[in-house]
């Protein structure tokens, strides 16, 4: 609806703003963020995060994309992509994980789990992640072994929980 008009006297604002004081006023969660999947606590799991970073790097290399191309497609900064790929101590923003999930065509939930942003509930996720990270190395082109590991991991995290 358009054309909504607010027409309160100046005195009203004076009284009401005094009541507001220095209070915080934020409310809600933006549409699109699956609020209930975001845990309150930050679960730090370096091992799954290594797998998350490796997965992001291999996904784009499998496409022949550089980090800038993935960043542009996902509407993220290149630096953020590189940080996710290379620094398992870096905690990705939930929004960045949602954007990557959208580009990858995957459900955000297992990726949020890998990124350590929610408690893992996907069966065998951690075992699969460690196995995947151990079998993959960040070298220039995907070799057959890496491709096989990558594809097996995609199918493992694509299974319904």
């Amino acid at each position: 609806m358009k054309n909504m008009k607010l027409d309160y006297p100046k005195k009203w604002y004076e009284n009401r703003i005094a009541l507001e004081g220095d209070a915080e006023i934020g409310a809600g969660t933006p549409p699109g963020i699956q609020a209930k999947t975001l845990a309150k606590s930050n679960v730090t799991r370096i091992d799954t995060r290594i797998a998350f970073g490796t997965f992001v790097a291999l996904w784009r290399r499998n496409r022949g994309w550089d980090a800038a191309k993935l960043a542009e497609t996902a509407e993220l900064d290149t630096e953020e992509i590189l940080e996710i790929e290379r620094d398992p101590h870096c905690e990705p923003e939930p929004d960045a994980v949602y954007k990557l999930a959208r580009v990858f065509g995957l459900s955000p939930k297992p990726l949020l789990e890998l990124a350590g942003l929610i408690e893992p509930t996907t069966p065998r996720l951690r075992e699969e992640a460690v196995r995947f990270a151990a079998r993959s190395e960040s070298v220039a082109a995907l070799n057959d072994r890496e491709r096989e590991a990558f594809e097996a991991f995609v199918s493992a995290i694509s299974e319904p929980a």
Binding site: I25, G26, A27, G28, P30, P31, K36, N42
Partner: protein, 199 residues
């Protein structure tokens, strides 16, 4: 798009300054968000761990705009004062009240609302302007009146904002909602809305 004349209190002079409430968030507003609000938030968050960042630090208004813009049931609002964006809100009009006294009746539900980083005492003290929350709640109540919902509104408050909705706005607290990140859910009845408009 309609512009309403509203007021915010400027800390520097302690005077009420004329501001604009727009009943549509335009690309121009999103460009302002991208150009000043977002960098200010990023600068504050740099080097801070997650628990010390503002609860809405990851909200990306630009990215979400295309999801709600084409929909009749969503209404967006922006407050502009002295050529900068001071607050943003998106509300929907097809959700139903949970409070027993008005159960099942439609409400204006505040999907999300936030004030610019420089208006938050937690980030900048004193804040540049006060009153963004008041203007946005007034806008939600007014929209509810316009739709024939008699001023009924509902929202999930971020934890630090609970006193504002409970005490300053006089809304009824209905408990934490497991389906919404355990945020506290509040509703304003038609009587509470009437009091809010009169005060």
């Amino acid at each position: 798009m309609t512009e309403s004349r509203v007021f915010l209190r400027k800390s520097e002079t302690n005077e009420l300054v004329e501001s604009s409430l727009l009943d549509e968030v335009t690309d121009h507003h999103l460009a302002m968000w991208n150009g000043s609000w977002r960098p200010a938030m990023e600068a504050y968050c740099a080097g801070r761990v997650l628990r010390d960042k503002p609860e809405d630090h990851h909200w990306d208004w630009k990215w979400k705009a295309n999801e709600w813009r084409p929909l009749l049931g969503y209404h967006s609002f922006a407050i502009v004062c002295e050529n900068d964006l001071q607050g943003l809100m998106v509300a929907s009009d097809f959700k139903s009240a949970r409070l027993q006294a008005q159960f099942g009746k439609p409400i204006v539900y505040v999907e999300f609302v936030a004030t610019a980083p420089w208006n938050r005492p937690e980030l900048q003290n004193p804040p540049r302007y006060r009153g963004v929350g008041t203007v946005m709640v007034a806008a939600a109540v007014e929209l509810s009146w316009d739709l024939g919902y008699r001023g009924r509104i509902g929202l999930h408050s971020l934890p630090k904002a609970e006193p504002f909705y409970r005490e300053s706005c006089g809304m009824t607290e209905l408990g934490k909602d497991a389906a919404h990140q355990n945020l506290m859910y509040y509703e304003m009845t038609d009587n509470q809305a009437e009091r809010f408009r009169q005060k």
